[in-house]
C-alpha cells in the first residue's frame, strides 16, 4: 500500500487495520486487499483519501514505516464517523458491517425477512434457497436451463439436498464442464495464455513451436474425478484426451525420446521425466514465457500469478530475501525502484533458469549447465546464477522442490478455490463472505484432499451461492 505522493508500498497497512478492527468481517480469515483503501495503488479511493488526510498531517512524505505504523491507528480513528462514499453510513459502521466504506453501492444490510418467499417472487432472501440453487447450478455447471416441469417436481421432493448433489455430479461430467473448450478450459486460459500463431500439433499456426493442447489436457485432468489438484504443479506425466461425449482424459508417462517417437519432434515434451513439474515445465510454458531469457523472471512471475494468485506487478506476495537481488544478469535490478520486487522475484526465478526456451542447450529441456552456455565468458556473473532459490521464505534446490512447496502452500489452496469462487459466484468473496471462503479453502486442503469436485460440492452449499 502507498500513502505518500511518491509510490511507496506499505504492506503493513492491512495488518494495522485488522489489529484495530479485529471483528470486522474483512479481517476474518484474512486481511483486506489493497483496494480497500486504493483504486489502483498508489492512487487512493475515497476512504483512503480520508485516512491520508488525517495521517500525521504536516509530516514530510514519504513516511517511514515507523511513522506510518505510529500514525495510522489515529488516522483510522479520526475518520470513523465520516462517510467517505456519501452513502449515508459512516465508515466505522461499514467496516463493522463488512461493506466497503469507499463504495456507495455497498451498504450495510437492512434488517428483517419477509413472512414468506411469496412476497419476494418465490425467492427466500434470508435463507439457503434450494430451488434457486437447483436452477442456477444447471446454468453454471451444465450450461442448461432446468425445464419448468422438472423444477416443479424438484419443489415437492423430500430430499432436495440429495437431488442438488446428484445434479452437480451429473453436471461435472458434462461436456459443458470438462469437454474441449468447456468451462475448465476457460479457467485454464489465463494460466496457459495460448497463441495459435505459434501452435504446433493439431490446427498449427504459421510458426509451430509448441502445442498448448497438452497444457489444457493436464489442467483439466487435475481438476476432475477427485484427482489431486496439486499435480497441476507436480505431475511428471502427461495427459491424452479421447473426445466425446463423454470426453475422457488419461495419463501417460514417456521420456523425451519416446515422446518424439510417439508424437513427433514438433509436439514432444522434452524435459526428462524426473525434472518435470506439471504446468511449470511444459514445452508451451518454456516456449511462450521463457523464450530466449537466461533468467526467466516472466516465467516465474506468471507461475506465481497463475497458480498462487500473487501478482508481483501489483506488489502481492513480496517476501524479501536477504542479499537479493544479486543481479546476475546485470539488468540493474538493484536500483531502488526495482529492488523491492526483485528481492522476491529473482530468488523465485533461479530454479527456472535450468529449463531452456530456445537457447542455452537443447530447446525446451532441462539443461544443468545452461547458465554457462548462455554466459558471455568466464567473467560473466551470469555463470554464478544458482539453481537454488527461495519461495515463501523456504529455500529450494530446484524447480521440482519449488513446485512441491508451492503446491502445498496456503496460497495454492486459496488461489485454486478463489478461481472457482469467482467463476461460479461471479466475483471475489465480499467481506461478509470471508469466513465462508476461508473455511472452504482450508477444507479443500484437508477434508477434500485437494479434490476440486469435492470442494465444488461444498461451494454450492454456501450462503454466498445459495442465498438469493
Amino acid at each position: 500500500m502507498a500513502w505518500g505522493a511518491t509510490a511507496y508500498a506499505k504492506p503493513i497497512a492491512p495488518s494495522i487495520l485488522c489489529t484495530q478492527y479485529a471483528d470486522a468481517p474483512v479481517c476474518i480469515g484474512g486481511q483486506p486487499a489493497c483496494t480497500f483503501c486504493h483504486t489502483t495503488p498508489p492512487a487512493r479511493n475515497a476512504f483512503g483519501a480520508q485516512v491520508e488526510g488525517e495521517l500525521l498531517p504536516g509530516t514530510a512524505r514519504p513516511l517511514s514505516d515507523a511513522d506510518f505504523m505510529t500514525g495510522l491507528p489515529a488516522a483510522l480513528a479520526a475518520v470513523e464517523q465520516k462517510d467517505a462514499d456519501g452513502d449515508g453510513f459512516v465508515n466505522l459502521d461499514e467496516l463493522l458491517a463488512g461493506t466497503y466504506p469507499a463504495d456507495g453501492a455497498s451498504i450495510p444490510a437492512a434488517d428483517g425477512c419477509p413472512q414468506s418467499s411469496d412476497a419476494n417472487g418465490g425467492f427466500d432472501v434470508c435463507n439457503y434457497d434450494p430451488r434457486y440453487v437447483y436452477k442456477k447450478l444447471h446454468l453454471d455447471f451444465c450450461g442448461t436451463t432446468v425445464a419448468y416441469d422438472r423444477l416443479k417436481a424438484f419443489e415437492v421432493l423430500e430430499d432436495k439436498e440429495g437431488e442438488i448433489r446428484d445434479a452437480l455430479a451429473r453436471c461435472l461430467d458434462s461436456e459443458y464442464w470438462k469437454g474441449r473448450d468447456g468451462i475448465l478450459y476457460r479457467l485454464a486460459h489465463k494460466k496457459i495464455r495460448p497463441a495459435q500463431s505459434i501452435k504446433s500439433g493439431d490446427d498449427p499456426g504459421d510458426i509451430p513451436l509448441g502445442d498448448y493442447d497438452d497444457d489444457y489436457y493436464l489442467f483439466v485432468y487435475t481438476q476432475i474425478d477427485d484427482h489431486d489438484a496439486r499435480e497441476l504443479l507436480t505431475a511428471q506425466y502427461f495427459v491424452e484426451v479421447q473426445d466425446g461425449p463423454p470426453t475422457t482424459y488419461s495419463t501417460y508417462e514417456r521420456g523425451p525420446f519416446q515422446d518424439i517417437q510417439a508424437r513427433g519432434a514438433q509436439v514432444a515434451q522434452l524435459v526428462e521425466v524426473q525434472r518435470r513439474a506439471g504446468m511449470l515445465t511444459t514445452r508451451w510454458n518454456l516456449v511462450f514465457n521463457t523464450m530466449f531469457t537466461p533468467i526467466p523472471r516472466t516465467t516465474a512471475a506468471q507461475a506465481y500469478r497463475a497458480y498462487l494468485g500473487l501478482d508481483i506487478a501489483r506488489m502481492e506476495g513480496l517476501d524479501d530475501v536477504p542479499g537479493e537481488p544479486a543481479d546476475y544478469d546485470q539488468k540493474g535490478v538493484q536500483a531502488e525502484a526495482c529492488r523491492r520486487c526483485h528481492a522476491t522475484l529473482d530468488p523465485l526465478t533461479y530454479p527456472f533458469t535450468r529449463y531452456s526456451g530456445f537457447n542455452g542447450g537443447t530447446p525446451f529441456s532441462y539443461v544443468p549447465n545452461r547458465m554457462n552456455n548462455m554466459s558471455s565468458g568466464r567473467n560473466d556473473p551470469l555463470r554464478d546464477t544458482p539453481e537454488a532459490g527461495v519461495i515463501f521464505g523456504e529455500r529450494v534446490d530446484d524447480l521440482v522442490q519449488w513446485a512441491n512447496v508451492a503446491s502445498n502452500s496456503d496460497q495454492f489452496a486459496q488461489a485454486t478455490v478463489l478461481d472457482y469462487w469467482k467463476l461460479i459466484i461471479g466475483e471475489a468473496p465480499r467481506p461478509t463472505e470471508q469466513g465462508e471462503f476461508d473455511r472452504l479453502w482450508r477444507r479443500f486442503r484437508n477434508e477434500h484432499e485437494y479434490s476440486v469436485e469435492r470442494m465444488l460440492h461444498e461451494l454450492v452449499t454456501t450462503e454466498a451461492y445459495g442465498v438469493p
Binding site: 437492512a110 419477509p114 413472512q115 411469496d118 425467492f123 432472501v125 434470508c126 446454468l139 495459435q196 442465498v467
Partner: protein, 229 residues
Amino acid sequence: MSRNPLNVAFALLFVTGCMADNVLKAEPPPDETPPVTMPPPTTNPPPAGDVVVPSNNARLKLKSGQLYAAALASGLELPRAEVCHELGLYDCVDDVHNIALGGIEPYRTGILEPLEETTVTTPIAADRVALAACTTRAERDFADLANAKLFGALVVKDGALEDVSAAPVEATIQRLYQRLVQRDATSDEVAALRDLYTEMAATPSADVAESWAAVSCYAVASTMEALFY
C-alpha cells in the same frame, strides 16, 4: 406464411415503449386509437401484511451468449444452430456478437476472459438473438399450427386471434413464461400481453396473430429475468 415487417416493427416499438415507461407517450395521428396506459410489468402484489424485502446478498450474473442461446433453443424447441444467424450465414452468438455477449476468443485474439463490462452493443445483440429465435418459432408454428411446438393452442382465423380473451391465449402466455423463465405468468403479465394484442390488432394486418406471437415471445425472452440469473 410470412409476417409483415412493418407490423413487427410497430409491435417492437410498442413493447419496448411499454418496458421503458409503461405508457405510450407519442401523440397519435387523428384517426388512430388513442394510446393505452399499460399496467406496470410487476408481479402480483404480496399478500396483505407481507412486504418485499430486498436481498442482502443481491448478486446477478448476465447469461453469456452461449447460455442465453442454449436457453432459447431449449425453451423454444429450436436446434441450437438455428437460433440466430446474421445474413442467414453467421451464428449470432458464436461468430458475430461473441465478445459483446460475454464470450472469449483466447486462441487467436488473446481475449482470455469475458469483458468486465457489457458493451454498447450488448443489449442490441441480445435483442437480436431473442427476436430471431422468437420469429423463427412463430413462423414455423404458424406454418403448421396443428404440429406447433409453442403456439398451437391459439385459435386463428384469417390471420387474427379469434378471441384474445379466450383461455387458449392465456394458456399460450403461460407456456411462454414457463418455457422462457420457468415460472407461471402473473395475472398482470397475462393482461399486458393481451392488451398488446388488442393494440396491434387495431392496425390492419393480415398476420397479426403471428406477429403478436413473435413479439410476445420476444417480450418475455428479453426481460431482465430471462437475461440474468
